[in-house]
């Protein structure tokens, strides 16, 4: 059974949701850690949930990335542990330099909450082996700063190394398929070792029959299985 940790910051607001989803999938309770804690026993998977960790002041995720628990998260990463950052969690991972690039304000300058279609690119990573290459997933986003950006050199590097995990897919003919202006439609990326995944959409919001779809549950299952 995988040891799964969920980290909460003061403004995390999707921690309960991801905990519920994990409990549903695994039948066990994940371990919870508070941002002020400075020790964390070994975990197989660490999850940074969505929310507004420190009110999104300064820059989303910037303050959280420098909180005490993050030293433990970094160490977990260096040991080759699995990490999933969702939305604000993704922002924290880029601020903590665990993932390249950054998440800027949405191109439309507005918060956007709606379903998007994701295309999976997993040929080169360990964390998504449970999904198929090209698999389409319908999962909602909800963010104000999801506009992924990396400079040309970084972008080339992450492409070469197969680090793009999800792109917003235009297959359903929606001209606004990319909700935030992310460069190359990038919705999620993985670390070079394929074990740290950050993505803007919220898989825990399509994880229960009442959510009108279970694609998020599929994604989470794959991450949990990879880490087990």
């Amino acid at each position: 059974m995988a040891r799964i940790a969920v980290i909460s910051f003061p403004g995390s607001n999707c921690d309960r949701d991801i905990i519920t989803a994990i409990r549903d999938i695994t039948g066990t309770e994940p371990n919870q850690f508070w941002h002020k804690e400075s020790t964390m026993p070994r975990q197989d998977l660490v999850i940074l949930p969505g929310g507004f960790s420190f009110g999104d002041y300064l820059r989303c995720g910037a303050i959280a990335a420098r909180s005490p628990i993050m030293d433990e998260v970094l160490e977990h990463a260096w040991r080759g542990g699995y990490i999933l950052g969702i939305c604000n969690g993704f922002q924290i991972l880029t601020e903590a330099d665990l993932l390249p690039g950054t998440l800027m304000r949405n191109r439309g300058l507005r918060f956007v909450c709606r379903d998007v279609v994701l295309e999976t690119h997993n040929s080169d990573n360990a964390i998504l082996t449970g999904l198929n290459e090209g698999q389409k997933l319908r999962i909602p986003v909800a963010h104000n700063e999801g506009n992924y950006f990396a400079d040309a050199a970084t972008l080339k590097k992450i492409k070469d190394k197969g680090q793009i995990a999800f792109t917003y897919s235009g297959a359903d003919q929606d001209p606004n398929y990319n909700p935030n202006g992310a460069i190359d439609d990038i919705a999620g990326i993985v670390s070079e070792n394929g074990r740290v995944l950050g993505l803007m959409p919220h898989p825990e919001r399509k994880a229960d029959p009442i959510h009108g779809g279970l694609d998020g549950r599929l994604l989470l299952k794959s991450v949990i299985e990879a880490a087990s």
Partner: protein
């Protein structure tokens, strides 16, 4: 051509939650020397206008009608000759 810099800050007495958040984060990181942190915005552009006074006047109007939320913010305008690089 002139180069314009507009410096925008919150009026006195208006809560600056961002400043507070930065202050406490700096403290947590061990930087205790900084206090009374205030955040602001900056807008820079070039303007097709030679006369400084006229430029200033036009930019004031832009600030009042669009760029600044004068209910809670104050602003400062700097006009400089554009130095061609």
């Amino acid at each position: 051509m002139v180069s314009i810099t507009i410096t925008i800050g919150l009026k006195d007495g208006v809560l600056d939650p961002e400043g507070r958040a930065i202050e406490s984060s700096l403290n947590n990181l061990g930087y205790h020397e900084a206090s009374e942190i205030k955040t602001g915005r900056l807008i820079r552009f070039t303007m097709d206008e030679a006369d400084h006074a006229r430029a200033h006047q036009k930019v004031s109007k832009m600030c009042e009608t669009l760029l600044v939320n004068t209910v809670i913010e104050h602003y400062d305008i700097t006009v400089e000759d554009l130095i061609e690089e």
